[in-house]
Amino acid sequence: MIRFFAILALTAVIAVPIQALEGRELLAAIDREVTFDKDFSAEYTVTQDRPGEPKSVQTMAMFRRDKASKFTIVILSPDVDKGKGYLKVENNLWFYDPVGGRFTVSSAKDRFQNSNARNSDFTKSNLANDYKIVGMSQEMLGRFSTRVFDLEATSDDVTFPKARIWVTDDNLVRKTEDRSLSGQLMRTVAVPQYQKVEDRWVPVNMVIVDNLRGKVVDGKMRYETTIIGIAKPNLTPVPDLTFTQGYLERVSR
């Protein structure tokens, strides 16, 4: 009898880290599908839809170097925002405004250009390091058969401490529900379609719905929505200079 309980306890002690390791592997596999070993660049279009207000559209050039945790964003239009930009180098993020020519420190958690996107939406996927899986189930998401993972942050640096993701068999995240520490749904991100760039994937567009901000229109609640469209993905090498403050200053002149 004692031996039985001893084996049971030992199994439990060994099983927990193995499960954690498996969870980490699962998340690492998801990260791998959307992370590039090479430099990545593309043209992003951010469309902000606030119910009852005209839509606003911003286009920008994105340069990413995932292996060094860097990115540079240069806003191309509208004219009023032209030349503004973001530079991320490891854990440091700066926002550059050509009016005044100043860099201000920003955070990955901050809203991107007053939209419903966060600065962290533009960084490389880092689920394996930032989250652990605390729950798992299967669910049909429209036409997709998905595994649903309940995630809890392992780092305080992430934008949302809890999340639920819907992942298809090809390890692509199709939907994310970002939640606060208490579990309150803060926003929903849907990625209806991906485009293949060599052996990796990039969303064609991401639909971000703010579950807290919106307006009742014609008797129906309509939440604020941000759509990020990604076009012209490219894996040609980006010069090192692109990931410097000097570059942002120069392109805005």
Partner: protein, 423 residues
């Protein structure tokens, strides 16, 4: 005897005093109104501010997590402080993301305040409630919002709002809370929402029982700066305490560079330094206006008495001929002036008080700026006893001084000349 004579003479000569008496009554009434309104506004403002700023004297933590560590020592020092009346225990959150959400709308709050309702429930009952009332101890699901917030979010009692904040560790968190009360407050104090201290502690990731500020409401006769200085001295031996903070700029400086200190003491006057400047300017104008009025009054009384002496020259000659001494004559005339002053004071004060009471009945809360100085939407005029004392002295002195020169002039008249001049 002189007073009786003066009173009878005053009644007989009332038609001669009419103009100056009416002026006196109106002037006294105006001064009573001025003092009553300005004091009432200041008292109402301080009461609201004391609720907003954790009492008349408050103790803040200078530690990075803003928690007050040695609560027992602070409590002992506060309770032993001169003028101590009641205690405030709070956890305050000033994060840039403290936002309330309801029905798709959102509004940023200047601060979220966790209150220990066991000890502060009574104080919050005095707020100007539009609906509901203060939370009861242990109500972890309730929140009190201002009218400004309720209007923006279209909130009603019982609605469930989402409160967004960031934990001590930097994690995004939220609370779902039910609106238990909507209070009216000016925009200065109105962008704060109040909830249970333990609900806020839990959401921010503090241990239960944590506070970030503790303060005391003082008795009306106590002086916050004196009590504050005493508190700093009382705490210094037990907990490293920063010097008494003089204004908000110094508070910011202390928080940025605490110089190894753990606690800071701040008075309501320091918190209200900017507003106090406005109130002091208002008070300065009041004092100047009162001084000008008294000067005009003195000249008016002097002119009136010159006329009275001129018109009563024969009477004065008769009095002198009957043996009334010069000193006694001056005494009679000054006593008359004293009676004039007292009557003006009594009637003027009654008129002023009556008008103040009428003003107190009017609902002024339509003006958002005025709300800051009102009590439940109404003016709460207050004329302190000392003010009445000063007013009485100043008025009597003014009338006596005004009447003194003509009285001395009258006393110098020879009886024969006076009788001849009077014919």
């Amino acid at each position: 005897m002189i007073l009786l004579l003066a009173w009878r003479s005053f009644l007989r000569q009332l038609f001669r005093f009419q103009v100056i008496l009416v002026t006196l009554i109106l002037g006294v009434a105006a001064m009573v109104i001025l003092i009553g309104v300005s004091t009432g506004l200041a008292v109402a403002l301080r009461e609201k501010a004391a609720r907003y700023f954790v009492g008349d004297v408050s103790v803040y933590s200078l530690l990075p997590d803003r928690s007050v560590t040695d609560q027992a020592a602070v409590l002992d020092a506060l309770e032993a402080m001169p003028g101590f009346q009641s205690l405030c225990r709070r956890t305050e959150y000033y994060g840039a993301d403290s936002t309330l959400f309801f029905g798709g709308d959102s509004i940023r709050q200047r601060k979220l305040v966790g209150v220990d309702w066991k000890i502060e429930n009574a104080s919050f009952r005095a707020l100007d409630w539009i609906s509901g009332g203060p939370l009861v101890p242990g109500d972890l699901k309730g929140i009190l919002v201002s009218e400004v917030t309720a209007d923006r979010l279209h909130l009603r009692l019982g609605d469930e709002v989402i409160v967004s904040l960031t934990t001590l560790r930097g994690q995004r968190n939220s609370l779902s809370l039910l609106v238990r009360g909507i209070f009216r407050d000016s925009s200065f104090f109105g962008y704060a929402s109040y909830l249970d201290i333990e609900a806020l502690n839990s959401a921010l990731g503090y241990e239960p029982g944590t506070i970030t500020a503790m303060g005391a409401i003082l008795r009306p006769d106590a002086r916050a700066t004196v009590s504050g200085a005493w508190l700093v001295h009382g705490l210094e031996g037990k907990v490293p305490t920063y010097r008494l903070i003089a204004n908000r700029a110094e508070q910011t400086q202390a928080m940025g560079n605490p110089e190894g200190k753990v606690l800071a003491v701040m008075t309501l006057d320091a918190n209200l330094a900017d507003i106090n400047d406005i109130l002091n300017a208002l008070l300065g104008v009041s004092v100047l206006a009162s001084g000008l009025f008294l000067l005009i009054l003195m000249i008016g009384v002097g002119n009136t008495y010159r006329m009275i002496v001129f018109e009563r020259t024969q009477e004065i000659g008769t009095m002198r001929a009957l043996g009334v001494t010069r000193t006694r004559l001056v005494g009679i005339l000054l006593a008359e002036a004293g009676v004039l002053g007292v009557v003006g004071l009594i009637v003027g004060t009654s008129v002023g008080e009556g008008l103040l009471q009428l003003a107190a009945l009017v609902e002024w809360s339509g003006n958002s700026l005025a709300v800051m100085f009102l009590n439940n939407g109404h003016l709460a005029p207050l004329v302190p006893a000392e003010a009445y004392g000063v007013l009485t002295l100043a008025l009597l002195l003014t009338t006596l001084l005004g009447a003194s020169l003509p009285a001395i002039h009258a006393a110098r008249l020879k009886p024969v000349d006076a009788l001849r001049e009077g014919e």
